[in-house]
């Protein structure tokens, strides 16, 4: 075990690097997604009620709108409320104090469960009779979705490449051990050792590489995350970005690191000894 000092170091090092990069990308994605969701949540849909309906009829639409798929909540805003809000928001100089509620329309403010499906939901809301117009900042929302999707594709691609590289390096390290022990392996096979029996020590070695890598990577990831989170909190411009506390996500991160370490380690060792076990 670990007889090839430098290669073992390289194998663990590359696993650490792989997991760290993978973890960093995933955590950025998690945080980005969180922030996007927050932004999208604020990004409500407005559904204007036709002026042909009386106030009572307009209010009665609530039951129909709240059962539309993907609508998480739905609030009725009357002409009067809309006017008051408007005046409060824009009337610094008392310009609009005599603004009539009549020029506003009754409306509903809708929030969505899954912002990705905004388009379909808008269609469905439009289909409710009595709703005349729907307004949503679709473009912004679509932009968020696209951005996040691109980020995901890039990180998946990167993760795949790094995974393959790690498996390759571990595999080569273990190949060195199998090469040292090729005579022994040949004898074991000759006397009737099963493949599983021969494989086990190498799988164990791979597992150990994977686990050491995962443990070191987890520690470094933690330090890095805290440092970046502190940096963001102390920065003037980035304060708006909310960072998910590491305490909330350490368990899944540890789980994923351990699992990835196992897959990389075992994958590497199995690739290394596959050839040896034929015949």
């Amino acid at each position: 075990m670990f007889s090839h000092g430098f290669m073992s170091f390289a194998a663990i090092g590359i696993t650490v690097a792989c997991l760290l990069i993978m973890g960093t990308f995933s955590l950025v994605a998690v945080n980005a997604n969180q922030n996007l969701k927050d932004l999208q949540k604020e990004n409500a849909i407005l559904a204007f009620v036709s002026d042909d309906l009386t106030d009572e009829q307009a209010q009665a639409l609530h039951s129909q709108l709240s059962v539309v798929d993907n609508v998480s909540d739905c609030t009725f805003v009357s002409r009067q409320q809309a006017r008051d809000e408007y005046v409060q928001k824009y009337d610094e100089d008392d310009l609009y104090s005599d603004l009539e509620a009549g020029i506003f329309r009754n409306r509903y403010v809708l929030h969505l469960t899954d912002p990705d499906q905004m388009k379909g939901t808008i269609e469905a809301v439009r289909g409710v009779s009595g709703i005349e117009k729907v307004r949503a900042d679709e473009d912004i929302s679509n932009g968020f979705v696209t951005l996040r999707n691109i980020a995901s594709v890039i990180s998946i691609a990167l993760i795949t490449i790094l995974f393959v590289v790690s498996v390759f390096i571990i595999s080569n390290t273990i190949k060195l051990t199998t090469f040292d022990r090729r005579d022994e392996i040949a004898i074991m096979k000759m006397v009737g050792a099963t493949n599983g029996f021969i494989r086990w020590p190498f799988v164990f070695e791979g597992l150990l590489f994977g686990f050491c890598g995962a443990a070191v990577a987890f520690g470094l990831q933690w330090l890095l995350y805290e440092a970046v989170a502190r940096g963001i909190a102390n920065s003037d411009t980035l304060q708006l970005v909310s960072v998910v506390p590491f305490g909330n996500i350490w368990a899944p991160v540890a789980g994923v690191f351990a699992a990835a370490g196992i897959v990389i380690g075992v994958g590497g060792s199995l690739t290394a000894i596959r050839k040896f076990l034929q015949v």
């Binding site: 022994e184 004898i187 074991m188 000759m190 006397v191 009737g192 050792a193 493949n195």
Partner: protein, 225 residues
């Protein structure tokens, strides 16, 4: 018991090494397999150890049908056959004792069994005083006796030896053959490939002679040519 029935083996490069070989060896027999260089002797040994598979015909060995054996069964079949080669194939970094214990641990023997069995087989081959030596501290004859001890250590039903005396001088060769004869007397079936005419004739055992991939004679007698 070992039985070859119309076995044909053609290597991937087209060489017809065996062209329909049939013979059978009962439990407890001692058999020499002889024949000119390239006649197919090692091919027969490799078929027996499951290293290669025949193109046609049937091979039975100690209850396993080697012509259609499952991959997972091969290790268990190999445990019934102890193999000895011309070049000993000992692990140079391991002592005599460790070479034998590797073979036992490879088949999951209990540590106590390992401790009891190794001195016993080393005594059988006359090396009980050299179990802590390394292979390169032993003579060729002694190394081959370690290899024989290793072939015996898991108590196989059959021992197959491919030119076990090929690297030894005549005196050592006789010692090795006599040792194999003794092992046979203790109940193990022995199949020995050899070129040593004098030894074969001297021991007076059954001789299967092959030439160009075919059995040309089989029976007690002497090895001429």
């Amino acid at each position: 018991m070992i039985r070859f029935t119309d076995v044909i083996k053609t290597y991937d490069n087209g060489t017809e090494a065996l062209k329909g070989i049939s013979f059978s060896i009962e439990d407890g027999e001692f058999v020499f397999l002889v024949g000119p260089s390239g006649s197919g002797k090692s091919t027969i040994i490799k078929l027996l150890t499951g290293e290669i598979i025949p193109n046609d015909g049937r091979i039975m060995a100690n209850g396993f049908s080697l012509s259609n054996i499952g991959e997972w069964q091969i290790p268990y079949m190999r445990r019934t056959i102890g193999t000895i080669f011309q070049d000993f194939r000992l692990i140079g970094k391991k002592t005599v004792y460790d070479n034998l214990s590797l073979a036992m641990r490879a088949v999951d023997a209990a540590p106590r069994e390992v401790k009891n069995r190794i001195p016993y087989v080393l005594e059988l081959v006359g090396l009980e005083n050299k179990m802590n030596r390394y292979p390169d501290e032993l003579s060729g004859g002694e190394q081959q006796r370690v290899a024989i001890a290793r072939a015996l250590v898991n108590n196989p039903a059959t021992i197959v030896a491919d030119e076990p005396t090929g690297n030894l001088d005549p005196g050592r060769s006789l010692e090795i053959m006599t040792l194999l004869e003794r092992i046979n007397a203790l109940g193990t079936t022995v199949l020995v490939v050899t070129h040593e005419k004098e030894l074969v004739n001297r021991l007076g055992k059954r001789i299967i002679m092959i030439d160009e991939g075919k059995v040309v004679s089989d029976g007690l007698g002497s090895y001429e040519v």
